[in-house]
Amino acid sequence: MTIAAPGSLVEAARLIERREVSPVELTRACLDRIAAENDALRAFITVMTDRALADAARAEKDIARGRYLGPLHGMPVSVKDLVDIAGTPTTSGSAVPPRHPQHDAPVVSRLRAAGAVIVGKTNLHEFAYGTTSDETAFGAVRNPHDRSRSAGGSSAGAAVAVVERMCYASVGTDTGGSIRIPSAACGITGLKPTHGEISADGVVPLSATFDHVGPMARTVTDTALMFQAMLDAEANLSRVPAADGPFWLGIPTAYFFDKLDEDVARLFADAKARLEGAGHSISEVTIAHVERTPDVYLHVMLPEASWYHEPLLRDHAEKYSRGVRLRLEMGRAVTAEDYVRAIHARSVLVRAVDRALEGIDALVLPALAVAAPPLGASTVEIGGRSEPVRAMMLRLTQLFNVTGHPAIAIPCGTGHDGLPRSLQLVGHRGGTERLLALASAVEAQITGGPGSVGGGAG
């Protein structure tokens, strides 16, 4: 059966609550989208058709009996295949033998308790160790806006699934930008909460010091509802915080604005003008030591990733993608002394971002310095210079993994190439809900309303 799919999770939730759309219909519509497009886009690794339809039927019955749990009840969602779901292999996008979990990760348990219907597990850059999702044992993930381009990474399948209406929201993970980068590349909203806020138990680690779990969806409100459910299984529209601006925003110009493509710079300037026009105060701020970010990041992330993978490399080295294997081998060369040096520097960067946020509500900056790069590209051109893709993809996001501050990517327009661009808001540590409130207001002011950018590429 084909239904007119609602545009957002909130719209779908209202229809389900009023019993104008059934969870089974909605789930079938998503499964149909997956069947139609997944061979080309490679968004999903595992499609859980039978389980999803059974869960949707149960939700439908419960709602009919008056046991409505909230906006996630009967809602089709997806989970990055780095996160354990009992009875389903966790492949991590790799040919290395998968985990076979007996238990759901806590974040999955909470989504199930909120009534969500998990339609499947999404594709990713192998072991989340990359930003382009073309190194995966399950086929390169393709960008719905231009299939010759990367969908970002590592949570690329999650972003594509949302854009393509294969689900209404996704669970992603973010160690250097892996929620915000694909969200920006595909034109959706992606939240990296404060570090540790959502449990990373039952999630294959990349770098425990920097790993975050968070939601991806079409709008800020949809993202906020997913965040609530992932946090404590209690999603409720009345809990979505309202904005009470005007806001004080800070633009960290140094470093972050040194290397941007022209459309990113132009659309960010447009967004800034709209925000100022709406009465918000925006001033420049500086973050001390910010230019050291990649060095600090590298000396923590590399050895932590290598530590986890050392036993797997011993037995399965040839099964890794070449690039991922080389990065893991590189991490083994970092000395313990330099790891401790970087951990110390991290604490300094945490305070530096705290200080930059003193007296303001949030930082605002682009989320991704470039448009989604062509699949397989190792360099991109910025200002007539050739720059490494990996460094450019991580440049604007990785600091906030180092410091743990919450950050959200929101679409801010489309470039001349037809590809989405995105801005990023960064809030106070522990202030994720406040950040979401602010993001909701910003979304309305720069896009004319939720979901007006980056929607339906297919």
């Binding site: 701020v285 500086t286 080389l326």
Partner: protein, 63 residues
Amino acid sequence: MRRDIAAWLAAAIADAESRGLPELKPLLETLARSTEALRDADEEFGHPALSHGDEAPGGATTP
């Protein structure tokens, strides 16, 4: 390049080549440059053996 890092890099490249991973060389060279930059920033980051104990690093910031 600092002598300690150059020696470390030479050893790491030799190890990679002995294990049949010559493609690791440019990555290790990138890592070595990054390691040098991080070590050079010890004072900037307030390494406890170098700090004078009179100021917390972290920098200031809103103009």
